[in-house]
Amino acid sequence: MATVELKVSYPPYNRSKDSIERIMYTVALALAPATLASIYYFGLRALWLNVVAIGSCMFFEWLVNKIRRVQATAWDGSALVTGMLVAMNVPSDLPFWMTALGSFVAIVVAKQLFGGLGFNIFNPALVARVFLLISFPAAMTSWPKPFSVDMETGASPLGILKTEGVAAVANMDLWAAFAGNMQGSIGETSALLLLLGGVVLLIKRYITWHIPLSFILTMFLFTGLFFLIDSDKYASPYFHMVTGGLMLGAIFMATDMVTSPLSKRGQIVFGVGCGLLTGVIRLFGSFPEGVSFAILIMNAFVPLLDRWDLASRGRHGEGGAS
């Protein structure tokens, strides 16, 4: 018998096939239908926007890894997903240089400066979106109409709701909005396809129902409550379900593993908080859309929610550490 080399490593000697790459590429796959739909609704400009966003995200990831002299992570899939989400958060006619700037903020400022994947507190794509919104409000609030040949732009339904009130959106075709035929950012449009992507992630157990359900349900109940109180002043909860970034936010952004709580009980509190904040901003704030701000604010609570979980007792009375 030829001498064999026995390797000694730590148990267990059998691990699941999951890896960072698998998770990230599956998320990208789940986002793909909505991305393709955006190209269908908004034309080739949306395709180039995606290329620029994804390409610049991966470039900045590679660049910072080189500067920091650490393991290259540009191909682990996280930059790809961030790029797709950055593209989904902006109008399809946003200038390319602004998009690239957004990628810079997402990857370099919001992620790498905190330590890279796993260390950031705030959702990188949302930090990019809010940065762009505050820096370039005009460009970031004029939304191209679907299928328009010469890029006719206008306000999104939520924008119209905020400036002109309920009557102006009362006759909006909600089913069209659900399928995606609506003015808004690339990712905001097709709620149907985003839900489909969400189902894929649920089946693969990369997200669980806790955050999306508590987020959406809280939004529904909150907006429904005020609709019942005064239906002339407040839009119906179904309107709020299909407009704006609620589906994108609840299914893909709030569930981001790194920036959401680790425990199921923390996730439910997180989702409820996001729902309440989104509702408050949409109904009573000056901004027409609140999902980005709500999620970013709740991101800040995540370390506290994790500490709360560490101190809580399990279902059999176990745990309860400091």
């Binding site: 064999v4 026995l6 490593s9 990369y206 009375g317």
Partner: protein, 450 residues
């Protein structure tokens, strides 16, 4: 189907040997018997070089209450008493015996089976103790100690652990299929030791339904055979108690604190042989499996048989592709650095594998995905245990549930970042044990001074 909550995982079962009948391996020329094959103090050697011994003779005596004697697995001459590689990864004192080929039993041992009901409770326990029986599921806790819980602990349930949840291992399964009567008598013997009547359960995972059927067929009315969901770690003592009785062990509690005693199938079989036939523990059944061994079998061999001899008995290695040899199961077993180790009382399996994941084992940053919390059967937070250990705060971890962890490996199994969570937990436990030892020594020194 009953199961434990929370947590658990479902690794691929790989029960390659589930239909392989137990084969009795002939006793080899050389046996190397370690004096430490159990939890507690190692046994003290009673023999010297060149002594002749008979089969079943005590060659090392128990040292203290929590200890067990070690017997000669065959008749022969003592060749040497020195340190030898041991499945624990350390070098342990072992008594080497050259077989004389006669396989001659010592006086008064291996008698015709008697009815255990004719013996007193004290007789039963002393036969179990003298036979050197320890928990053969892997922990190696002396069985006679388990059968004498501290006064004040009322036992009302005894559970036979037929779960065998580790992938690859099938030795308990085959014992149930081929020797159900003996296993059940062993269980009855153990139940009889307790003064008050006890509820008797046999828990078997649902991937062994033929064993469930056979055990049900042979079990008397008093024994409840239950099929449990196939989920790792169903065979862990705490999880088994939770699945069958719904009770839960809090930190620091042992099964007798909730009125339960759990025993392994092989232990029950050994108890039957010891009490009814006065046969000490000198052999056991284990699984030889993995893709890299030519013949995958369930083998009954004498304790002290070297793995190199077993490999020959099983047709040798399939190829040169083997890169790991594991003693135990893939989840909680130990990768060995040599084939030159003996079979001990707690060896349940030998796995010869080509682990392709070894190249991928670089630790990546924690994604905070929470899968480890979902998987942990003890409801703990593995992420914080690994996190703080790496940041050199291991001394804080006892208050974060460190001692609830039984190192089952479910957390490391699910982690997408391949973090070595089990290693960090073992490391933290060692750090804290060190701290406790230093505190104890300091206190003693202070007492001496004052």
């Amino acid at each position: 189907m009953k199961t434990f909550t929370p947590g658990g995982i479902h690794p691929s079962e790989n029960k390659l040997t589930r239909d392989a009948k137990i084969e009795n391996m002939p006793i080899p020329a050389l046996l190397t018997v370690p004096v430490a094959q159990h939890l507690g103090k190692p046994a003290k050697a009673l023999v010297a070089m060149r002594d002749t011994v008979k089969k079943g003779q005590v060659i090392a005596e128990a040292d203290g209450f929590i200890s067990a004697p070690v017997h000669a697995p065959t008749s022969g001459t003592i060749k040497s008493i020195k340190n030898h590689p041991h499945p624990s990864g350390q070098y342990v004192k072992a008594i080497s015996i050259t077989s004389d080929g006669n396989n001659e039993w010592a006086e008064g041992l291996n008698v015709e089976p008697e009815d255990f009901r004719s013996l007193t409770r004290e007789d039963v326990i002393s036969r179990v103790k003298d036979a050197g029986i320890v928990g053969m599921g892997g922990a190696g806790f002396p069985t006679h100690v388990k059968l004498q819980p501290p006064s004040g602990k009322r036992i009302d349930t005894i559970i036979l652990n037929g779960a065998e949840c580790e992938p690859f291992l099938t030795s308990d399964h085959r014992l149930m299929l081929e020797h159900p009567k003996e296993v059940l008598v062993g269980l009855e013997i153990m139940a009889s030791v307790f003064e008050q009547p006890v509820k008797i359960y046999v828990g078997i995972e649902s991937n062994k339904m033929n064993a469930v059927e056979i055990m049900k067929e042979h079990a008397p009315e008093s024994i409840k055979v239950e099929a449990l969901k196939t989920k790792y770690p169903e065979g862990s003592e705490k999880q088994l108690i939770n699945a069958l009785t719904g009770r839960w062990l809090l930190e620091g509690q042992l099964p007798f604190d909730v009125g339960c005693v759990v025993q392994n199938i092989a232990t029950a079989y050994a108890v039957y042989e010891a009490v009814c036939k006065k046969k000490p523990l000198i052999e056991r059944v284990f699984t030889v499996s993995g893709m890299e061994i030519a013949k995958k079998k369930n083998v009954r061999a004498a304790l002290g048989t070297l793995v190199t001899d077993i490999m020959e008995y099983c047709g040798g290695l399939e190829s040169d592709n083997i890169n790991q040899f594991i003693c135990g199961g893939p989840m909680m077993g130990r990768a060995q650095f040599t084939f030159d180790i003996p079979i001990t009382k707690t060896t349940s399996g030998l796995l010869f594998i080509n682990n392709k994941e070894l190249d991928n084992l670089r630790e990546r940053p924690c994604l905070r995905c929470g899968k480890c919390i979902e998987a942990c059967p003890q409801g703990q937070r593995p992420w914080v245990l690994a996190d703080k250990a790496q940041k050199k705060h291991a001394q804080e971890l006892p208050s974060y549930g460190l001692n609830q962890c039984m190192e089952c490996g479910s957390c490391a199994f699910v982690c997408p970042s391949k973090r070595e969570i089990v290693h960090w937990i073992k490391y933290s436990k060692a750090v804290n044990a060190n701290i406790r030892q230093r505190e104890a020594l300091k206190k003693e020194a202070q007492k001496k001074d004052s």
